[in-house]
C-alpha cells in the first residue's frame, strides 16, 4: 500500500511511555493546519493560487480518507467534486437560492451521489473497484454533457456570480480575493476538524484495520462492507464541499471538473503529499499546483515535468512529501 504504514495515530505511543513530538503534533494537527492555511495567501505568489490550494487540498483530504486511510483506490472522485459544484451553481443561478443554502445543497447532492456510487462499487474488489468508479464517474460526466440546458454542457455553468456575502449581519465583498480566501477557509477548517475527529474515533481505527488486512478485520467481527460504504460516503461529502467552494470561487463550473483527468489529478496530489497522513494532502495540492504554475512560466511542456516527478515519487518516495518527512524525522 502506498499509504503511510506508520500513520500518525499509530506512532502516538512509541517506545514505552514516550509520547514525544509526534504525539503532540497529532494532538495539535487541526490548529496547526489552520494556522498554515491562514498564512498561505501571504506566502504564495497569488491569492487565486492560494484559493486553489485550499480547494484542491480539501478534495485531496476527502479523497485521502478513502484512499490513504481505508485503502481503496477510487478513480472517480471527480464525480463528487463536480456534483457539489454544479448543484451549488444551479441552486444560485437557476433557483436564486442564497449562497449558504446552495452550499448545503451542494454537499448533500455530492454526498447522495457518493452513497449511490458507493453502494454499487463496494461490491467489487481490487482493480475492479478502480475500474467501476472510473466508469460510473464517466457516466456522470456524459450525463452532465448531455443535460446542457441545466449544466451549460461543455460551455460550462455560468451566471451565478456571488459578489457579496451576508454573514451574521456583516456584508463581505466576495470579489476581494483576500476576504474570499478567509471565508472559504472557514469551511475548510471545519471540514479538517471533522476529519480529525473521524480519524480519532473508533471508526478511524476500523478503517485503518480494513486497509491493513480486510480478512482479519472481518474475522474480528467488523462489518467491512458497511465500513467501506461509510468511508466512501464521508469522502464524497468532503469532496462535494470542496466542489461548492470551487463554484463560489471561480463563479463558473467547467465541465472538465467531472472528467477522469480531474480524478487522476486528485490521486496524484494525494500521493505526492502523502496518502495516509493528515496534512499530506494539502502539501500535495500545494506542491502540485505550485509546480504546475512555476514550470508553466518556463515552458509549455510542464506536463512532462509533473508526470516525471509523479513517477519518481511512485518509485522512490511512495509516502509522499509529508509522509516521507514524518517518517524521516521519526527515524532520526
Amino acid at each position: 500500500m502506498t499509504a503511510s504504514t506508520s500513520s500518525v495515530a499509530g506512532v502516538m505511543t512509541g517506545p514505552a511511555g514516550h509520547r514525544g513530538w509526534r504525539a503532540r503534533l497529532a494532538a495539535w494537527r487541526v490548529p496547526l493546519s489552520i494556522l498554515a492555511l491562514c498564512l498561505l495567501p501571504w506566502v504564495l505568489p497569488s491569492q487565486a493560487l492560494a484559493v486553489n490550494v485550499l480547494i484542491y487540498g480539501l478534495v485531496a483530504v476527502g479523497y485521502n480518507l478513502l484512499f490513504g486511510y481505508t485503502g481503496l483506490l477510487s478513480f472517480g472522485h471527480a464525480a463528487f467534486f463536480g456534483t457539489g459544484a454544479y448543484v451549488t451553481g444551479i441552486a444560485i443561478g437557476a433557483f436564486g437560492l442564497p449562497w449558504y443554502a446552495a452550499v448545503a445543497l451542494g454537499i448533500a447532492g455530492g454526498g447522495l451521489l457518493a452513497l449511490v456510487i458507493g453502494l454499487l462499487s463496494i461490491r467489487t474488489r481490487g482493480i475492479y473497484f478502480s475500474m467501476v468508479t472510473l466508469a460510473l464517474s464517466q457516466l456522470v460526466y456524459y450525463t452532465a454533457l448531455q443535460a446542457s440546458s441545466w449544466t451549460g454542457g461543455e460551455n460550462g455553468l455560468r451566471g451565478f456570480t456571488v459578489a457579496r456575502i451576508n454573514l451574521f449581519g456583516w456584508t463581505i465583498d466576495f470579489l476581494d480575493p483576500l476576504k474570499k480566501y478567509y471565508v472559504l477557509m472557514v469551511f475548510a477548517a471545519v471540514a479538517l476538524w471533522l476529519v480529525s475527529r473521524i480519524l480519532n474515533s473508533p471508526f478511524g481505527a476500523v478503517i485503518e484495520a480494513v486497509r491493513e488486512n480486510e480478512t482479519r478485520a472481518r474475522a474480528c467481527g467488523y462489518d467491512v462492507e458497511r465500513t467501506k460504504l461509510v468511508s466512501f460516503t464521508l469522502s464524497g461529502l468532503i469532496c462535494a464541499l470542496a466542489g461548492t467552494l470551487s463554484a463560489l470561487h471561480l463563479a463558473i463550473v467547467p465541465l472538465d471538473i467531472l472528467h477522469y483527468h480531474t480524478s487522476g489529478m486528485i490521486v496524484m496530489m494525494t500521493l505526492l503529499g502523502g496518502a495516509g497522513s493528515f496534512f499530506g494532502p494539502f502539501v500535495g495540492a500545494l506542491a502540485f499546483l505550485l509546480m504546475e504554475d512555476v514550470v508553466s512560466l518556463w515552458t509549455s511542456h510542464w506536463q512532462i515535468v509533473v508526470g516525471t516527478v509523479f513517477i519518481l515519487f511512485v518509485l522512490f518516495l511512495p509516502k509522499g512529501i509529508w509522509g516521507t518527512a514524518l517518517a524521516w524525522r521519526a527515524g532520526r
Partner: protein, 290 residues
C-alpha cells in the same frame, strides 16, 4: 432503413472492432499475466503510430513502418517493465497502475516536444488506397486490409499460445505464477516478454490506425477508454474475451450510430459499468474470488 444499410453498418462495426481488439488484446494480456492495469496503453498506441510514421518517412515505405515500429516499441515496452514496473511488484497492486498513469502524461508530452502538437499527415499507402464495392456498399480497401492483418495476428497468437512451449508457460503462468516459479521457470523473463508483446500489439494497432486517423499526440486518450471498456466486458486476462468483446463493442457503436450516434460513448461506459456490477470478471474472465 433497408437491409443493405444494416448489413453495411454491421460490417463497418466489425472493421471498427478490429482496431479495438488490437489494443484491448495487449491490455488484457498484460493484466492477465502481470496483474498490471496499464494506464499508458493509449499513449503507447500513439507512440506506435508516430514510430510508424517516422520509419515510413525515413524509408519511404509504409510497410517498413508496419514491420519495424511494433517491434521497436515492444522493445521499449520491455524497458518500461524492467526498470519502472518490476520494482513495484512487491508493493501493492495499485502502484503499477499509478506509475503507468503518470507515464501516460510523460509520453504524450515527450511526443509533443519531439514532433510538435499539430497533427501530421500520414498518407494511405498507394497500394491500398481506394474503395472496394462490396455489393452492399463501398468500403475503403485500407480498412479491409486492417481487418485482414488483425485476423492474421490473432491466428499467429493462437498458434503461439497453443502450440509452443513459451505459449504453454504463458497460459500456465496466467493461472498460477507461483507454481511456475516452483517448477524453475524464470517468471521475471516471461513477464518481461509478455509485457513487450502486449505493448507491441498496441503499437501495431497505432501504426494500422495512422492512415485512417489524424496522427496527433492526443490520439491515444479515446483509444484507452475504449480499450478499457472492451477489456472489462471481455474479461481482463482473457484473449478470447478481448476478441469477442472487441467485435461486440464495435458492432454496438456502429448500430448506435444508426439511431442515436451521439450516445455512442455513453453507451460504451454504461455497458462497462453494467458488466462490472453484474459480472465483474467479464464474459470470459476468471471468476473473481470474493
Amino acid at each position: 432503413m433497408d437491409a443493405e444499410l444494416i448489413a453495411m453498418q454491421l460490417f463497418s462495426g466489425v472493421a471498427l472492432g478490429a482496431i479495438l481488439i488490437m489494443v484491448a488484446l495487449g491490455l488484457s494480456i498484460i493484466f492477465g499475466m502481470l496483474g498490471v492495469v496499464n494506464f499508458a496503453h493509449g499513449a503507447l498506441f500513439m507512440v506506435g503510430a508516430y514510430a510508424g510514421l517516422w520509419v515510413a518517412s525515413l524509408t519511404g515505405s509504409f510497410w517498413w513502418g508496419l514491420l519495424i515500429a511494433p517491434i521497436a516499441i515492444g522493445a521499449f515496452g520491455m524497458l518500461i517493465e524492467r526498470f519502472l514496473i518490476r520494482p513495484l511488484y512487491k508493493r501493492s497492486i495499485d502502484d503499477p497502475l499509478l506509475l503507468t498513469f503518470g507515464l501516460g502524461y510523460v509520453l504524450v508530452e515527450a511526443v509533443r516536444i519531439a514532433f510538435g502538437s499539430d497533427g501530421i499527415p500520414f498518407q494511405t499507402p498507394p497500394e491500398l488506397a481506394g474503395v472496394a464495392d462490396l455489393g452492399i456498399g463501398f468500403f475503403p480497401i485500407y480498412r479491409l486490409f486492417v481487418v485482414a492483418v488483425v485476423a492474421v495476428v490473432l491466428v499467429l497468437l493462437w498458434v503461439g499460445l497453443e502450440k509452443t512451449k513459451f505459449g504453454l508457460i504463458v497460459r500456465a503462468g496466467a493461472k498460477d505464477p507461483q507454481i511456475m516459479r516452483v517448477l524453475g521457470v524464470d517468471i521475471a523473463k516471461v513477464w518481461l516478454l509478455v509485457f513487450g508483446l502486449g505493448i507491441g500489439l498496441t503499437a501495431l494497432g497505432g501504426v494500422l490506425a495512422a492512415p485512417m486517423r489524424n496522427v496527433n499526440p492526443e490520439m491515444g486518450s479515446l483509444v484507452l477508454a475504449e480499450a478499457f471498456v472492451v477489456t472489462v466486458i471481455g474479461g481482463m486476462g482473457s484473449l478470447v474475451g478481448a476478441v469477442v468483446a472487441g467485435l461486440l463493442v464495435g458492432v454496438a457503436i456502429s448500430m448506435t450510430a444508426l439511431f442515436a450516434p451521439e450516445m455512442a460513448t455513453i453507451v460504451m461506459f454504461a455497458l462497462m459499468a453494467l458488466v462490472l456490477l453484474v459480472k465483474p470478471q467479464g464474459l470470459f474472465g476468471k471468476p473473481v474470488r470474493g
